[in-house]
Every structure is written in structure tokens, then in C-alpha cells.
Symmetry: C2
């Protein structure tokens, strides 16, 4: 009796081949490049006029807009993909929901609870399928965008409540087209997993970089291992401050887990406890050894 | 009046072309491979008969020994390079000093204070030039040894008190021959620097691996950034327990420095303090950006 009424399939709106991408940075720009190369018509929206111009000149987008008139920009789009920093998504999704009232909406954000809540608040959850491609770089912006960024990359999909299977299939197809590997997950499970698998490594690399800077140790004094461990320290603070704050409850738990491991190691050093040091290093190696295939052999 | 008496040049002992390497693991074995390829006569010593046999079969060493009769093994050697785990070096240097009373002695250990003290205790500091090549891999043993491991790698040299310039030049030449970049440093400064630049990143990667294992997050769920940050978790605990214990005063200080950075980040998350989060991430990025050249562009 309280079953949700079946939603009309949102995909037939607009030109079935046109995808609008809002935000032509590293992720949005790379996706635009790959889709355009496959013959998909891409409309690009970016608040930076230089970025829009560069994307037009590169032949990547068929039309470009600065985002001031979203209804005009998105008129043709069957699918709108939001590729802005996580903190900008709630405001953006509200505007896009009104400007493109029949389009299928997706995003590429690194957290999935807040954007799902924003879609629900904007009344477009039934035509929203959140996405998070596990690809990136410490470089950012249109200049860093490049073809093939998503080849082999896992992409987490979080369909909104009431989104029909056809909507999920449409977003899946876009990611498969560019070589990525889509998989569906619940937003809560996503944000917990990513707190550990992605946000914690970023935070640790930043903490390590700050500590090394404080000790006056330049990065070019590090060996190949130390350089890998600190590579993420170069990541864009604009992108990451948003992500860490948006997921701060889960990231806080993950940091506490790391602090426990560090405390064990610190105590073992203090006590000269070889057995305990060895136990932690063996546990870490066992975890890493389960995944040694697919790694490059060299340092 | 209390000046040390000039020491005789130790290098003329034995065949000037013969280098003995004690320990044919990743570092010793790779050095043996490179030197042999350059036409240098290499004598190999390893307590594992299978390793000695493999090195002989590969044509890398001219003669092989199991280490039971060091005087016989080292009779021809002008230079003896100790490539055993850090914890084994003090015992080894005493034996080698007696077995090769005129040879120039060096090592490849990741710490330099304890081996310098052991050389002094064994009475061979004047013919000891410690070395630490900044090259490695998470793989270990003869099977992991390969040509070219040291190409472009910095090598720290710590000449013992009273070692003549010719001794330093001889060890420098060996490392230059295999493409490495030798640089001289004081053992105390070395161990402080390496605590931050190498031992801390290793410890952090192991702590992160242990924490992720505890949270049930498999490594294949990590993106490229998380994988880089945790790559060192696969390192050999036998090698690293020795290093961390040997340098534990300096590593302890470095861990405390990291814990301070992590505490700042943890508090900023708790407080939702965007400005503080951004400050730490910016400091880390500034540190990393000073060294972005030479890094691969991709993730």
C-alpha cells in the first residue's frame, strides 16, 4: 500500500547521445575527452571561460557554457554529469535538477552520502545515479585532463532510491565506454570504505609531508619507497579539504585506527621489542602480499 | 703532538680487481651482477648454499663460499663489502677484520652509526668506508637481485676515522661504476636524515597496512594513490625490524613528528576546521611541489 509509484524512465529526455559535463577539471575534462573521441556529443560547462575556450578549441566539446544559464546549457542533455568539488555538489544538484527537469543526473564525487542527500532534497533522487571513478592524479584542472584516465579504474555507482534499472544501465554504459569497471554500492558503505582506502592514505601522505617539511628534509633526499609513500602530498588541497570534511566522521574513525597501529610501533621502539615490531610488519606484509600481483616489480 | 699517525694505504692488498661481497641478497646480489657485467672479479659469500650455487651458475661470481672459512674466502679480496642485514653487521665486521687484515672494508647497511662503532671496536676503522645505497625493493634475496638497481641512486658514504682519501675514492669508484651517485656524510647526520626520509615512511606504510587489514579493507580496493602510499607495507620484516631497532632513538623522534601532524589533522576533522585542514594540506603540497620534476606524470 505504501509502495513507491513506479517512476517514468527518465532517459528519453533530450538528445539520447548528448552528455553534459559540469566542471571540466581533471575528472570532468578527461571524461569529456574520452567520450568525444568515441563520437558522443559533449556539452561542457565550466565557470572558467578559459577552460571552456580551451575545450572548444581542442574539439572536445560541441558547445560550451559558463554555467550562468544552466537551463540553456543543459537543454539538449539526456545525461548531466556533475564534476565539481564535493563541497559544490549540493548547490549544483539543486540548480541542475530545476534546469534539466527530465535529465538523468550523475556526478563523480569522492563521497556519496552528501550528494545522495542533496538529490533527495532537490527531489531528483529517482533520476540520480551517483558515481565515483577511482582514478585521479595529484595534478588538477583542464590542463591535467587526458585520454585514458579511466582505463581499468573501478567506478562506484550509487543509484538514488526509485531510480529505474535503465538509469543505472545508462550510467554504467558511459563508464564502460571509457574502459572503467562500474560496480554498485550503498552510499554509507561507500563512504566508510573510501575513508580507509583513499581518504586515510591521502591524509597520511599530507601528514608525512608536513612532518618532513617541519624537520627540514627535502623530498629529493627520499629514496623510491619514501617518494611513493609521500606522492599524494602533492594533491590539490581545494579538492581534498572538501572530501575530508564531507566524510569527517568516517575519516576520523580511520585515523584513529592508524593511530592505534602507530602507537603499537612507537611503544615497540621504546621498549626495543623486536617481537612486537616484527608482528606489526608481518601483519602489514601479509595484507600487502595478498595483492602483490599486478604491481610493477621495480621500486 | 697527538695527531693520528698517517695510515698506510690499505688498497694495495690482494688482487686490485677482486671485490668480495658477503651476503648475496637484493643489494649484494644486484651489486655483484653489475660489477661482474663490468668485468670485475667478484667473490661471493652467502650462508645459503643454494644462493652461492645460483650465483655461480649465473656466471656472476668467480668463486663462492658459505662463510665458514672467511680467511680462505677473502684471501684474494682487496675490497670486502658486507651486504647482510644491519643486525648482523657488528658480528660480521669483527670476523672480516681478522680474516682480511689488509682489505678495505665497506657495507651497504641502512644505518651507519652502529657499523661505524663496530669497525672502531674491531680496530679496522682506518680501512672502513661505510656505504648506504638508496635503492631497494620490497622483494628480497638473490632471486630479487637484478642489473641496474643502483642507476641514478644516491649512495651515502661514511669513511671511518683515519681512512685515507684513496680508500674513499676506491669505494666511490665502485658505486660510480654501477651508475650510483656517492656523497659523503657523517654517521650521526646520516641516521637522523634516514630516520625521517626512509625509516619513517616504511613505518607509516606498515602501520597503514596493519590498520587497513584490521578494518577488513583489502589492498585491491585501493586506488592508485592508496596503492603507492602502502607499497612499502610489503617490505621484508627481517630487514626492517633490524633497521628500526638499530636507529630507534632517531626513528622515535620522527614518529613523534608525524604524530603531531596527525593530531593537528584529527583535531581539524573533529572541529570541522576547514582553514586548519587546508593549512596542513598546503604545507604538504608546498613541500612536495619543490620536487615535482622527475616524477612520472601519471597516477
Amino acid at each position: 500500500v505504501n509502495e513507491p509509484s513506479p517512476q517514468p524512465d527518465p532517459t528519453p529526455a533530450g538528445d539520447p547521445g548528448t552528455v553534459a559535463i559540469v566542471g571540466l577539471g581533471l575528472i570532468g575534462g578527461s571524461l569529456a575527452r574520452d567520450l568525444a573521441a568515441l563520437g558522443v556529443g559533449v556539452v561542457g560547462v565550466d565557470r572558467d571561460p578559459g577552460t571552456v575556450e580551451a575545450a572548444l578549441l581542442a574539439g572536445v566539446i560541441a558547445r560550451g557554457h559558463d554555467g550562468a544559464h544552466l537551463d540553456e546549457a543543459l537543454a539538449d542533455a539526456a545525461v548531466v554529469i556533475l564534476a565539481a568539488p564535493v563541497g559544490a555538489l549540493p548547490g549544483l544538484i539543486e540548480g541542475v535538477s530545476g534546469a534539466a527537469p527530465r535529465a538523468l543526473i550523475s556526478d563523480v564525487g569522492s563521497t556519496k552520502r552528501s550528494v545522495a542527500a542533496a538529490a533527495a532534497a532537490a527531489g531528483c533522487a529517482h533520476r540520480f545515479v551517483g558515481a565515483h571513478p577511482m582514478a585521479g592524479d595529484t595534478a588538477s584542472g583542464w590542463a591535467a585532463a587526458r585520454p585514458g584516465l579511466f582505463a581499468g579504474a573501478p567506478v562506484w555507482l550509487c543509484p538514488g532510491p526509485g531510480a529505474p534499472a535503465s538509469a543505472v544501465t545508462r550510467i554504467e554504459a558511459i563508464w564502460r565506454q571509457v574502459g572503467a569497471l562500474p560496480r554498485t554500492i550503498d552510499p554509507v558503505a561507500h563512504d566508510r570504505l573510501l575513508a580507509w582506502s583513499s581518504h586515510l592514505p591521502q591524509l597520511v601522505a599530507s601528514a608525512l609531508g608536513t612532518a618532513l617539511a617541519g624537520a627540514g628534509v627535502a623530498r629529493d633526499l627520499l629514496g623510491p619507497g619514501g617518494r611513493d609513500t609521500t606522492r599524494l602530498a602533492a594533491s590539490d588541497p581545494v579538492v581534498w579539504t572538501d572530501i575530508l570534511l564531507d566524510n569527517r566522521d568516517q575519516v576520523g574513525d580511520a585515523v584513529d585506527g592508524l593511530l592505534q597501529s602507530l602507537a603499537r610501533l612507537r611503544a615497540a621502539l621504546d621498549n626495543g621489542d623486536r617481537r612486537e615490531l616484527d608482528a606489526v610488519l608481518q601483519a602489514a606484509r601479509g595484507w600487502a602480499a595478498a595483492d602483490l600481483e599486478g604491481e610493477p616489480a621495480g621500486p
